[in-house]
């Protein structure tokens, strides 16, 4: 279970996140929506330790992880993808995922063995499950945009997270790619029992897979609830769903 309590952050006086509280239950799929500049990415960066909050708490299964360094938060079981795709561009696809296994399983201090001999089956298996096995030997930077997003998911999954934060997992994808990616996410979340929190622009995507939706507006939580509740909430309809 991921809990955010009264999280606050201001940049030079501009309130990016102004007292947001949010709970994502274990194995729940939840979405944060809101217009550009609503504070979605800042909220993610506060949760994953990339930005120090001015106030508030982040709890993972009741444990306070507020303000811990990103690499510690990753080890505690939060995985994430970034809005701008974040992969190891000069390594092969296989090496990208293999490196994440090596790091997560604490092999990084091993300076004598050959790295390519480690976790071959795990890496191949994970690549197959995200549908990248055909590209295993390709240099990651040469992949298509959609495939790079898939690879980023693979890197995050190699850390065996309990909670996965995805910042716009389908940004820049075609309608078909978006649908495929969401199906993939839903399947993987089910198989691994993941708690999933994601931001997304595409409302159709959000309403199909999210069990819970939180609406962020100008750094504040406007409303939260099931997709059906959000659809009928007049305030949400007014500021975000584009109805006047």
């Amino acid at each position: 279970m991921l809990e955010v309590r009264d999280l606050r952050k201001a940049f030079a006086g501009f309130v990016a996140v102004g007292g947001v509280s949010l709970t994502v239950e274990t194995r729940q799929i939840a979405a944060v929506i809101g217009p550009n500049g609503a504070g979605k990415s800042t909220l993610f960066n506060l949760i994953t330790g990339h930005i120090m909050p001015d106030g508030g708490r982040v709890l993972l299964d009741g444990r306070d992880i507020t303000g811990a360094a990103p690499h510690r938060i990753c080890r505690m079981g939060i995985g994430r993808s970034f809005q701008r795709t974040n992969i190891f561009a000069r390594l092969s696809v296989f090496e990208n995922v293999q490196a994440a296994f090596l790091a997560h399983r604490g092999r990084g201090a091993n300076f004598w063995a050959r790295s390519e001999d480690f976790y071959r089956d795990e890496t191949a298996g994970l690549l197959a499950s995200i549908g990248l096995d055909a590209h295993a030997d390709a240099i990651a930077g040469t992949l298509s945009y959609g495939n790079q997003k898939q690879l980023e998911l693979g890197i995050a999954l190699a850390s065996d997270p309990e909670v996965l934060l995805l910042d716009e997992p389908t940004a820049g994808m075609s309608a078909t790619e978006t649908r495929e990616t969401m199906q993939l996410l839903r399947r993987i979340a089910g198989e691994r029992g993941l708690t999933l929190l994601f931001t997304e622009h595409d409302m159709e995507v959000v309403f199909t897979i999210a069990a819970k939706i939180a609406v962020l507006h100008q750094g504040h939580l406007l409303a939260e609830g099931t997709p059906a509740e959000m659809r009928s909430d007049p305030e949400v309809r007014r500021v975000y769903l584009g109805e006047h």
């Binding site: 690499h71 990753c74 080890r75 970034f82 974040n86 090496e95 090596l102 790091a103 071959r120």
Partner: protein
């Protein structure tokens, strides 16, 4: 099999062994001057490979790598000359001393990024230079430490065929073996899981932190390892040139080793040794014809940076790939 490079005919040939054996024949087939050049190349090769653990593998641009080379040279030189410590102890002590200094200076350097990191490494190297230049009692100041004794290499006479080698030849062979072992160690480190973590930091430090790596700790570890091996290279260089002088620690030598690394190809493990060979050899050839060596070097660098960004080794690899592609097309 995915993820593994297929063994080609070229990769089955033990290239490193062949190069090592060829280098080992220099005292017998070459002149005294050839041995002198070969010693310089071999020592510079280790220095450049140690730098490339930072430059090519971890993505850290150090402008002050000569500091660790210099600390190693002074530690070994002072121990052997002032305290008459035998080489077997002074040599590892040089690596250890350089590693310790890298630990202290690196602790601060890895807190900065990119250009600021580079500037701080330069600052530390100038501090080392200033100390070497002014601390007369220990470093000999601007007079340096001349006449460092050679290590005792009489035992080599017992090996058949080594009996009539000059001391300079014997020291070259010792240098060659020590450098080969050091480069082999760096090769193992580069290919290890630790080395793989360094490449993830090079490619994307933000993502590397979010696969669970303490990026600064890894950068510092790389800095210390690179410093230690630079120290070993420095120790050998001090003995090879029979003295340690403040000039060895001047920042232009840091630039020289960066040039070697880029010239050879920093994306390839064997790039820096090739760069060391090319730079020392070219320097000799060209200064025989013209005094404008820096001009020629500048021209070579320009061509490299614009036409062959992969350096000499990158150019060779691209050539092989093109040839294979042409052959495959002809067969099809």
């Amino acid at each position: 099999m995915t993820g593994r490079r297929r063994a080609t005919l070229a990769s089955r040939i033990p290239w490193t062994l062949i190069v090592f054996l060829a280098a080992a024949t220099v005292p017998w087939i070459g002149s005294r001057y050839d041995t002198f050049l070969a010693s310089q190349i071999v020592i510079d090769a280790l220095f450049a490979v140690s730098l490339n653990l930072l430059l090519g593998t971890t993505g850290l641009v150090s402008f002050g790598h000569v500091a660790y080379f210099g600390v190693g040279a002074y530690v070994c030189g002072i121990l052997m000359k002032t305290y008459e410590v035998p080489f077997v102890l002074a040599f590892p002590a040089a690596g250890l001393g350089a590693a310790l200094f890298a630990l202290v200076s690196g602790y601060f350097c890895v807190r900065l990024q990119k250009l600021y990191f580079a500037m701080l490494t330069l600052a530390f190297s100038q501090i080392v230079w200033a100390i070497a230049y002014k601390w007369n009692d220990v470093t000999g100041g601007d007079q340096g430490l001349p006449e460092i004794p050679y290590p005792d290499l009489d035992w080599m006479s017992a090996i058949p065929g080594f009996g009539d080698l000059r001391i300079g030849d014997r020291f070259y062979l010792l240098t060659l073996v020590l450098v080969a072992l050091s480069i082999a160690a760096l090769r193992i480190i580069t290919r290890s899981p630790f080395g793989r973590m360094l490449t993830t930091i090079r490619d994307n430090p933000e993502r590397a932190a979010f696969i669970g790596l303490n990026v600064r700790a890894y950068q510092l570890a790389a800095f210390v390892v690179a410093g230690a091996f630079a120290g070993l290279a420095g120790a050998l260089y001090g003995l090879f040139s029979r003295g340690v002088f403040a000039d060895y620690v001047f920042w232009s030598k840091s630039a020289e080793v960066i040039i070697m690394t880029i010239l050879g190809g920093m994306d390839y493990f064997w790039g820096p040794p090739v760069g060391a060979l090319a730079l020392v050899w070219l320097n000799q050839q060209i200064t025989a014809y013209t005094e404008y060596w820096p001009f020629v070097l500048g021209a070579i660098l320009l061509v490299l940076l614009f036409a062959f960004t992969g350096g000499i080794v990158g150019g060779i690899v691209a050539g092989f790939r093109f040839a294979r592609y042409r052959l495959a097309r002809r067969d099809a």
